[in-house]
């Protein structure tokens, strides 16, 4: 948004109209609150549209409409009143229907739609609260609140200057909010914008820019996360683990489904879910693990999926010390030149790749230990994770002989449900240091 330019234009128009500008437009240009001036422009430029049809005599009035009436009657029509409108409507429930009702009420109340800019700003602000911030139909409905054809420039002078800047600004703001939520405008939006502001207005330009870039970026993320995550924790774990593993061969194993048992004493015992993932390569690596060296169960590590945070655990080992690495033995007879049954796997030449053709980068490899498996569990305690390890032993019997060390940080013990998933990352960071201050008392060796 080109605020300085618009500011200049507004001043120009103001001077042109003989009205001095008395207020400073904030640099964001988001909330242009000029209750007085708008009416003046409207009156000056479009006197014909000022037909005063009042709907006070409508037969069936809902309580909401009544409040609207009351509000409109008051002289002081500020932004706060529209906020109130939404809050009043949202007293018992906040749904799309409620939101639409408020918009409908506003639209029907007054043919002149007085205060529609303020109303739209207020509505945009309230959209996330009503959970409609990703709904294209709602945005179109909001756009529909603008009176049609009023703001379309009619001659070259109007076209040249910023015609109805506040309204255009508001339209741009609406499109910007759509953009921020990643909502792509549709044909209806385009038609509405053309009707309201004309073909070459700022909102129309904004629309065109969105339509240029959005399709290009739509598939920019090769690993998309759906907006609605599965609610079943097992399904969520399955999704998250395959997302981390990124190996098409990796196999998900559900070691335990979540269930609740009631013991003889009447206590409820929660059996948390345990979902693990392991690829065939990891399995062979684990089978080759030296049983005298321990493996570690570590975690929980966070994984953010949009606004949800889940935690996973790793089964890993320290890097193999260089003295223990066994070089793969080549059987010369089978691999060597002029010996192999089908074709030589290597040549016996004293020639390396020419320096000019060696396009490899000089990369410092950091030796890291192998990761043998991953899991997600309903509870991050040692008991639950031992169950996972014993489940892994079924496919890798050698794991029974390897000492397993649990290095668990007492992180969130339970998987976050979607209700507390609203927690922002900042809050998460705040709680983390507290966790780290606790001593790693849970380090124990399972033999």
């Amino acid at each position: 948004m080109n605020t300085p330019r618009q500011l200049l234009r507004i001043q120009c128009i103001a001077r042109f109209l003989g009205t001095p500008i008395q207020r400073v437009i904030p640099p964001t240009g988001a909330h242009l609150q000029t209750p007085g001036t708008q009416h003046k422009y409207g009156q000056l430029l479009r006197p014909l549209h000022c037909s005063a049809v009042c709907s006070t005599s409508r037969p069936s009035q809902t309580p909401l409409e009544k409040t609207v009436e009351a509000e409109t009657l008051k002289k002081d029509r500020s932004l706060v009143t529209h906020d109130d409108l939404f809050e009043r409507a949202a007293r018992d429930s906040k749904t799309k229907a409620d939101f639409n009702r408020v918009v409908d009420v506003f639209s029907k109340k007054d043919i002149r739609r007085r205060g529609h800019v303020e109303f739209i700003y207020a509505a945009l602000k309230k959209m996330p609260e009503f959970g409609v911030e990703r709904d294209i139909t709602v945005y179109n409905k909001l756009l529909d609140v603008f009176p049609k054809e009023v703001f379309v420039p009619r001659n070259f002078i109007q076209r040249m200057f910023n015609h109805y800047p506040r309204q255009q600004e508001c339209g741009v703001q609406l499109l910007e909010q759509m953009e921020n939520y990643g909502i792509m405008p549709n044909v209806e939006t385009k038609v509405l914008l053309a009707q309201i502001f004309g073909e070459k207005s700022h909102p129309m330009r904004k629309y065109q820019r969105i339509m240029y870039w959005f399709p290009k970026f739509k598939h920019a993320n090769p690993f998309p996360v759906p907006h609605v995550l599965p609610s079943d924790p097992v399904e969520l774990a399955r999704f998250s683990l395959t997302r981390i593993a990124d190996d098409l061969d990796a196999k998900i194993t559900i070691y335990q489904y979540p269930s609740t048992d009631i013991t003889e004493t009447g206590e409820e015992v929660m059996r948390p879910h345990i979902v693990g993932i392991q690829s065939p390569n990891q399995r062979t690596l684990l089978a080759k693990h030296n049983p005298s060296r321990p493996v570690f169960v570590e975690g929980p590590f966070p994984l953010w999926l949009r606004k949800t945070c889940v935690h996973y655990f790793l089964l890993r080992a320290d890097p193999i010390p260089s003295e223990e690495t066994v070089e793969e033995e080549f059987d010369l007879e089978m691999m060597g030149p002029e010996q192999s049954l089908f074709y030589p796997q290597r040549l016996e030449l004293d020639l390396e790749r020419d320096m000019g053709d060696d396009f490899r980068f000089d990369v410092d490899d950091v030796k890291e230990g192998p990761v043998y498996a991953m899991c997600m569990a309903g509870q991050g305690d040692q008991v639950t994770l031992s169950q996972w390890i014993s489940g892994l032993q079924e496919t890798c019997p050698i794991l029974g002989q390897i000492p397993t060390v649990f290095r668990l940080e007492s992180g969130p013990r339970e998987l976050q449900t979607t209700s507390d998933a609203q927690q922002t990352p900042e809050q998460e960071v705040e709680t983390d240091p507290i966790i780290e201050e606790e001593p790693l008392h849970s380090q124990r060796v399972k033999q």
Partner: protein, 627 residues
């Protein structure tokens, strides 16, 4: 090596005499070749091409057989041809997926189960050349050809080339008559072409007199009815330095030893009449006398069997295409379209030319290679044999497909044999080493050979040795000024007939260019060239083309010199093929140049990698929308 070879020696002496009588043009040259032959044979043709050398002594003149042999083979061929035309019902074999016993008995009576087994063991004792000639006819039925090949080209070849006298005397007579059928058991479920991962194991019993064989072998041709099997298994061998190591050993295993179970025959696309199945060995007791060669020496046995068994595919393919040409031309000349017969249309003529050229080249390559293998000494023709196999398997596929196309919809029906030929010949590109593996073999074996010789020179160059660099620069300058390359194929002491001069020049140019390209590739990649499969594929393709050009040049030169019937047609074919191959080679060699714009390898690799990472076709559907 064995008696067979001795017989061949005596024959080749006669064959030399014949040549002298037949032709004067190549006299000088031939003499020089003979003198080299008397010393230890070390010349190799295909490998030397990698060094930019043309060992014309190896391939010129085209090998011949004596009149007596020719008469003998003609006498053999006639009844076999008659048998295949009259008594073999290929449609039924294909439909029932089994060769009827009476057909098998007929084959046995003709001696086709012991073509290469020496006469003293009851076989026909034929040379490789004559084996190739019979292969032309047996290939008319794919199932029978594969059954016979699995029996004698690989199944009993182990006993024949590496077995001791006792083993030969014990097994060969019954195998020669077809009383026993042989199979070759190398492939395993876990190791297709990767023979190094053989899991079948043979353990010595405590008394040290038997091996206990355990394991499963896969895709064994004749597996269901074989009585004698050549089985490869791991055995523990004590090294010279006292370490225990696993080595591959070859065994002769009789079904009668027990503990052998064959699985259900595989239901296949083509060669349906042949029997392919799984064989499981469970504690099969194999006496120690049945080890072929020595314990731990099985790898060489397997290598020799496989590397030299492939040449006959060329003649087999040629035989099949020749038959197809007869059948389709009949149709093309009688069928009318738009009031003209099909044979008048250029696009149909194109197909016949393709088929003829392919058959001609295959035949030439096959008999040249067979002739080289029949020469005395221990010829190393594995490269040549592999090239014949690659060229003829791919050529056959194209030709059969073209023949089917001539008939249009009719060819697609089961009323005509084309669809069966098409299905049958698909296996040629797969078995006995897939064409991909053989291309790697061809290119890498040559690279290794050239690399050993060139390493010193390249190292000097890399060090910046002024002398060597100048020498090379000088040579390059000379090459660019004097554009002609002369390997002495044409001209005064030339071995190629003057009417083929142009083709020979094209070949020489390609050969020289190929040599310098190999040197540059070695300079560029060194031993890491093993990883550059797309480069190696091109190298192999160029070499195959070069060898094919050699074969046709050699064959046609002989035909003109001795005045064979229709040799003018051969000249035409040779010139056509050489021109075609020359430009193909030029393109391939240009692609092999450094930073060549014609080379698309990087992109090809990237496409494959992106698709394989997703394991699916990655593009969006053309009808998809984003808004």
């Amino acid at each position: 090596m064995n008696l067979n070879k001795l017989i061949v020696v005596s024959r080749s002496v006669k064959f030399g005499r014949n040549l002298f009588a037949a032709r004067g043009a190549c006299l000088h040259h031939f003499q020089s070749r003979r003198s080299i032959r008397s010393s230890a044979r070390s010349l190799t043709y295909a490998k030397d091409l990698f060094l930019g050398k043309v060992n014309k002594a190896e391939v010129f003149p085209y090998p011949e057989i004596s009149n007596e042999e020719l008469e003998e083979i003609n006498q053999l061929v006639q009844p076999v041809e008659k048998f295949f035309n009259e008594d073999v019902d290929s449609t039924k074999i294909d439909h029932d997926a089994v060769i009827p016993p009476e057909t098998l008995n007929g084959l046995k009576e003709l001696g086709l189960f012991g073509i290469q087994i020496p006469e003293e063991y009851g076989g026909l004792g034929l040379s490789n050349t004559m084996y190739a000639r019979l292969g032309e006819i047996t290939s008319l039925d794919g199932a029978i050809a594969v059954t016979l090949a699995a029996h004698q080209a690989i199944g009993l070849k182990g006993i024949l080339i590496a077995g001791n006298e006792a083993q030969k005397a014990k097994y060969l007579p019954k195998l020669a008559t077809g009383e026993h059928i042989a199979a070759f058991c190398l492939t395993e479920p876990g190791s297709g072409s990767d023979a190094a991962s053989i899991q079948t194991r043979a353990t010595l019993t405590e008394d040290g007199k038997h091996f206990l064989l355990n394991g499963t072998k896969f895709w064994i041709s004749n597996g269901g009815w074989a009585d004698i099997m050549t089985v490869f298994a791991r055995t523990e061998v004590v090294d010279t330095d006292g370490q225990k190591k696993d080595k591959i050993t070859a065994f002769i295993v009789e079904r009668a030893f027990g503990g052998i179970a064959s699985g259900k025959p595989e239901d296949k696309l083509g060669i349906r009449g042949s029997n392919t199945c799984e064989i499981t060995f469970e504690d099969t007791k194999v006496p120690i006398e049945n080890v072929i060669g020595e314990v731990g020496g099985g790898f060489k046995v397997a290598m020799n069997i496989l590397n030299n068994g492939r040449f006959s595919m060329g003649s087999a393919g040629a035989g099949m295409i020749k038959r197809l040409i007869e059948m389709t031309s009949e149709y093309a000349c009688t069928r009318k379209q738009f009031s003209r017969s099909l044979s008048e249309f250029g696009m149909i003529q194109d197909k016949f030319a393709t088929m003829t050229l392919n058959a001609f080249v295959m035949e030439s390559m096959a008999y040249l290679t067979a002739g080289m293998m029949d020469r005395p000494g221990v010829p190393d023709c594995s490269l040549e044999a592999a090239m014949v196999k690659v060229f003829s398997s791919e050529g056959s596929w194209i030709c059969v497909s073209e023949a089917l196309q001539v008939l249009g919809g009719l060819g697609f029906t089961k009323n005509y044999p084309y669809e069966r030929y098409l299905r049958d010949c698909r296996i040629l590109q797969i078995f006995e080493g897939t064409n991909e593996i053989l291309r790697m073999y061809i290119a890498l074996t040559g690279m290794q050979y050239a690399g050993k010789i060139l390493t010193g020179k390249i190292k000097e160059m890399k060090k910046g040795n002024v002398g060597v660099v100048f020498e090379i620069l000088g040579k390059k300058l000379k090459d660019s000024v004097v554009r002609t390359v002369d390997f002495g194929l044409t001209g005064k002491d030339g071995v190629v007939h003057p009417s083929l001069t142009e083709s020979a020049k094209m070949f020489e140019q390609n050969a020289a260019h190929f040599g310098s390209t190999v040197e540059r590739l070695l300079y560029q990649y060194g031993k890491t060239i093993v990883e550059e499969q797309l480069v190696l594929k091109k190298v192999a393709d160029v070499l195959i083309n070069l060898y094919a050009m050699t074969a046709v040049l050699s064959r046609t030169s002989r035909s003109i010199s001795i005045g064979l019937r229709n040799h003018d047609h051969e000249v035409l074919l040779t010139n056509t093929f050489c021109k075609d191959a020359h430009f193909k080679n030029n393109f391939l060699l240009t692609q092999l140049q450094k930073n060549s714009p014609e080379n698309n390898d990087a992109n090809i690799k990237k496409i494959a990698q992106e698709v394989l990472a997703k394991r699916a076709y990655v593009c969006s559907h053309p009808l998809d929308r984003t808004f």
